[in-house]
């Protein structure tokens, strides 16, 4: 057999049959460029009014997925081709998931910021407002009061329940409560609103009953399971050695829980409570039903309708008056305020969790 004596450098055995580094990126850039050109031509030919960037990126990515598979199949074989296809598809999924988030934050900032930084937005209510003036004071007051009372109701119940589940609960009752808390997590928010309405109608006999307190109760129904879940997770993290050390010193069980277990996990519990507040503060449907809507400031939780921020956003959009843009602008500004509140709550919660996390000796 003739030994191959071909001139030229020996191919590196480790890199033959593999695509050179950077090929993937070049294919990606190339397919985006190609589709960008195609869409550009379509626009120049008068096919579309605006340049369709999202369409170009999306179809370019699809073309990339196909090209990668074909090229890799020709060079590397079917197994590597499938692997590369899966990688590019998974990455595509992630990018697709990011698109709405980016678009949403961009449009809310673009449309809401200008109206929100006008002083009238935080100094006026909507009472007797017909034009571009008016603000969200009544809604912010309502949101703060209703959410605070909801938290006052649900934090003690939720925390005590989680203590029961972790420290005391054995047997059927604990299992049933765990299951029911899980199921309660899935109650649609509007059903919670209907429950609060049905409850107050039966109690007061007034079919047109609306009040902020009802809203608090509806939100508490939604909030309790979240508090229970998160506190339970945190209490479970407390090492058993701490409890045993406390018992060994003769400390009663309830004092062990109050003085050892809760202080150790308080950071995580606070985080969970704040995240649950962040979850319910944006709820619209139950408040639309039981707290109603009004244009005036109302500080009284027990009597009369009470406006809230999410409901303000909804009504400004759905009941547009004479000058539509005024109402839509207020809706965007309200949406931005709401997002900022929720993000701030999330951020503070995570900071608390990070800063005050118990230092376990390890």
């Amino acid at each position: 057999m003739a030994v191959s004596t071909a001139a030229g450098p020996m191919p590196n055995a480790l890199t033959t049959g593999r695509l050179p580094k950077g090929t993937i990126w070049m294919v990606l850039g190339g397919s985006w460029l190609l589709l960008g050109l195609v869409f550009g031509l379509v626009q120049m030919a008068g096919g579309t009014k605006q340049y369709n960037l999202v369409g170009a990126l999306f179809l370019g990515t699809v073309l990339f997925d196909i090209l990668v598979f074909v090229i890799s199949y020709l060079v590397e074989g079917v197994r590597q081709a499938r692997d590369r296809l899966a990688t590019s598809l998974v990455t595509t999924a992630f990018i697709i998931a990011l698109l709405p988030l980016v678009s949403l934050i961009y449009t809310v900032l673009l449309n809401g910021l200008g109206r929100m930084i006008q002083p009238s937005f935080f100094s006026q209510s909507m009472r007797n407002v017909l034009g571009a003036e008016g603000g969200a004071v009544h809604a912010i007051v309502g949101t703060l009061e209703i959410t605070a009372v909801a938290a006052l109701i649900s934090v003690p119940i939720g925390l005590l329940t989680s203590i029961y589940l972790v420290e005391y609960g054995r047997g059927t009752l604990a299992r049933v409560i765990t299951f029911m808390v899980d199921v309660m997590t899935g109650i649609p928010s509007i059903v919670a609103g209907l429950f609060a309405y049905a409850f107050f109608v039966l109690v007061t006999g007034n079919v047109g009953y609306r009040s902020g307190l009802g809203g608090s109760i509806a939100l508490a129904v939604l909030m309790i399971p979240v508090v229970v879940r998160s506190s339970e997770e945190m209490l479970k993290l407390v090492p058993n050695e701490l409890r045993e050390a406390s018992y060994a010193l003769g400390v009663p069980k309830w004092l062990t829980v109050v003085k050892i277990v809760i202080p150790t996990s308080i950071a995580g519990i606070t985080t969970g409570v704040m995240l649950s507040i962040a979850r319910v503060i944006g709820e619209t449907a139950p408040l639309l039903i039981i707290a109603g809507l009004t244009d005036s400031v109302n500080y009284d939780l027990v009597h009369d309708r009470m406006m809230t921020l999410p409901v303000l956003v909804y009504t400004q959009y759905s009941n547009q008056g004479a000058h539509q843009s005024d109402f839509v602008n207020r809706a965007w500004a309200g949406a931005l305020t709401l997002i900022l509140i929720v993000m701030a709550l999330n951020l503070v919660a995570r900071l608390i969790a990070r800063i005050f996390a118990p230092k376990l000796g390890r």
Binding site: R82, F94, P100, W254
Partner: protein, 313 residues
């Protein structure tokens, strides 16, 4: 003086212990009472609607079940399309975060996806109707012209983009964070030994995921889907703001005549409802409660069975 010690030594019963433990039991039971109260109050308020005679119900429905049936269909239909969109994307995102992204980045990426969960539903509604519906309408026209022979894309295409497909996309975005979170947790729990064994046998990364990660995670994916379904079924404001509703049952995705959902119908009708109309809406809420209760219960049972058999704990 010396008392005979009989049986085990009993701890002294302290007042604090009694009070504390019984208050925790009380709080736990309160949750059961609350859940029961939700069911009972809704049932009590629903009875007038369920027993109502023809002529008193809204939409000139002869009885409650005729009234609620198109709504049930719309609810399930919109949620099902949302799930068809959301399941592959959420699995992809979860895989990206758990197995593809660089280890240092993955936590931050997970937080970015969680940000989607922090956006209130009314903001999604506003975005859906003012941005998405307008932006996607030309695509709907294209679908209708080129793929109109598929019954789903047939009919007269909506001029506003406020169709059931737009709603389904918004719903898919909204359920994505919870589904991704659950899938991600499960993917991360895959025994590392299984993954390493697959890689050691020469599997590529995708083959490793197919033979080791996905079979392990299948029950988790199912329960994540059910949780997402529960969310999508109960979503109210986003649907109420985006959809242009009608009292119809059809499978067209792109027309202006869309079946409404239970929750959105309640939100739209409640402020103006009176008399039996209110009871009818509450009764439809009860139907929604039962549907989501069943879906969530199935999801939880699937999760719990996984816990029992996985050997991961």
């Amino acid at each position: 003086m010396a008392t005979p010690t009989t049986g085990a030594i009993k701890a002294r019963v302290r007042l604090g212990d009694r009070v504390f433990s019984s208050s925790t039991v009380f709080a736990g039971s309160l949750i059961l009472v609350l859940l029961a109260a939700v069911a009972i109050f809704l049932i009590v308020q629903s009875i007038p609607a369920i027993t109502a005679k023809a002529g008193t119900l809204p939409n000139a429905a002869p009885n409650f079940w005729v009234y609620v049936w198109p709504l049930v269909f719309g609810t399930v239909w919109a949620a099902a399309i949302a799930l068809v969109i959301a399941i592959p994307i959420s699995i992809g995102v979860a895989l990206f975060i758990s197995h593809y992204a660089p280890r240092k980045l993955s936590q931050g990426l997970g937080y970015v996806i969680d940000l989607l969960a922090a956006v209130p539903s009314v903001v999604f509604g506003l975005w859906g109707v003012l941005v998405l519906a307008k932006g996607i309408q030309p695509f709907f026209v294209w679908l209708n012209e080129n793929l109109g022979w598929i019954p789903l894309f047939g009919g007269v295409v909506s001029g506003t983009g406020k169709t059931v497909l737009t709603v389904a996309i918004v719903l898919a975005v909204m359920v994505l964070p919870i589904m991704t979170a659950v899938c991600r947790e499960i993917f991360l729990q895959t025994p590392v030994l299984h993954e390493e064994a697959a890689l050691a046998l020469g599997a590529t990364r995708w083959e490793m995921i197919r033979v080791a990660v996905l079979p392990f995670a299948r029950p988790g994916i199912i329960s994540a889907s059910m949780l997402g379904l529960g969310r999508a079924l109960g979503e109210t404001l986003a649907v109420a703001m985006v959809l242009s509703p009608a009292i119809v049952i059809n499978f067209f995705l792109l027309t202006a005549q869309n079946p409404n959902t239970i929750a959105a119908n309640i939100a739209l009708q409640f402020p103006e409802a009176s008399g039996v109309g209110i009871n009818t809406l509450i009764a439809s809420g009860l139907v929604l409660f039962v549907i989501t209760f069943i879906v969530n219960a199935i999801a939880r049972i699937a999760v719990n069975r996984r816990k029992a058999f996985s050997g991961a704990n």
